[in-house]
Amino acid sequence: MFDQVDWQQVWIATQETLFMVGISTFFTALLGIPLGVLLVITDRGHLWENAAIQRVLGLIVNIFRAVPFIVLVLFLFPVAEFILGTSLGPAAATIPLIAGAAPFYARMVETAIREIDRGVIEASQAMGASKFTIVRKVLIPEALPAIVSGLTVTCVSLISFSAMAGVVGGGGLGDAAFRFGFQSFNDQMLIVCGVLLVVLVQIVQGIGDLISKRLDKR
């Protein structure tokens, strides 16, 4: 039935997508979680009150959130070139993906951590815990269910963004759907790549929900 599908190409495209999404999700978490924590604890009357840092970080996050993703991609080509030596391929595409997703995710982490009862933080201080201990053993574990569900949402957006980034040179399922499907008048290829993206989203959402639910002890 799918006689016009080049499964070899589909497989390569799938691997590229998984690579882009995997790497960019990882770095989004790596940047977004500390950024989100900092946005909270530098707040007035919080663990590490620091108006200057708070303002600068808030500004950076908002700028990156305001810039449309496609502009970010074009804008960050030279950055990818500088870091990776190339502005093409899945690796290069991760740079704008991370830049686009990390600030969004940082805000989600911020919200998750703000949900924690101030009394719990105060109780930890009363037990003699240091700021670092409070972040590591109180703020992050207590907010973990929301941090994970935020990452799930972010990962799903990264899948759809990666399809876009793919078209401008990143490869992956989005690129395959566009070039080998749409542009080559190969509907079957278009459908297969589209369905695979949907399946990927479903799997990510399912696993994310499961983990988040497991972690939630409230």
């Binding site: 105060e122 930890s124 201080q125 009363a126 037990m127 003699g128 109180v138 574990p141 002890k217 409230r218």
Partner: protein, 329 residues
Amino acid sequence: MIQVKKVSKVFPAQGKGESVTALKDVSLEIERGDIFGIIGHSGAGKSTLLRMLNGLEKPTTGSVIIDGKEISKLKDKELRLARQKIGMIFQHFHLLWSRTVRENVAFPLEVAGVPKSEIQRKVDQLLERVGLQDRADAYPSQLSGGQKQRVGIARALANDPDVLLCDEATSALDPETTASILQLLQEINRETGITLVLITHEMSVVRSICNKIAVMEAGEIVEIGEVEEIFNHAKHPVTRKFLQQEINEEAKDLGKCLTVTISKQSDWNNLISIAQTYQVSIQIVGGEIQATTDKHTISFRLLGEPANVNKAIDEILSQANKMEVIERV
């Protein structure tokens, strides 16, 4: 043991609001092994005062000294070490949702850098002490309020503190659970000689376990001393009000009860004749004599046939012009 010297606290104005003076020139001394009660209405400054004792709040002026160390002057690291020896429990427990009972109690030990094997042993011991050994692997969300507070107590005692601060520790609990938590605190005080400082707005809590008491109002200590002394010779109106409130609370438990003001002997005779008419007896549950105004309040309940009791109460209420009925419960 604990000395609070001329402490004032002003919270600076935020935005358009005015600055708040939460404490005004407060001084007090707490001795080792005391169970020291601080009573006052909401907003009187009790929590602010308590939080001074472990440095969660810094005095604007004055000093707080515990065991010779001036808490209000300690540097970050020293303060954290000092706090490990000052336990604290809260009205809303403030446990970590993400940790089991065992892990919650282990938290302060982890903070203090106690080795793992030792933590295990110590946590078992603490859980047994508060009677929660069989709930060790439950999460706080699976516990009742009383159990949560027991976890809070075990956690607060983990590093063998010299002082335990209790901020309305029983205010979210029902009377029975309150009694059991107070009993636990008292036992721990007797066993370990730990100094307890507890905040409450209920005189019954003070009566059941405290040996000393400070009454606070609008950021000031208005009365302070031994519990017996204060209970028998309360001078300040706020203290009296708290005592009266306790009587009313108790009366509630006893059934139909009235509190009336009596100013003349004839009022009293009148009361007795009503009781005789309806064949009920008067059981006095409390009272207060005010030498200055000649107005005495007594709280009593009427015992007898329910129908007669109701008629007698109606009769007394109808004579409210003679006897001022303050409260009908």
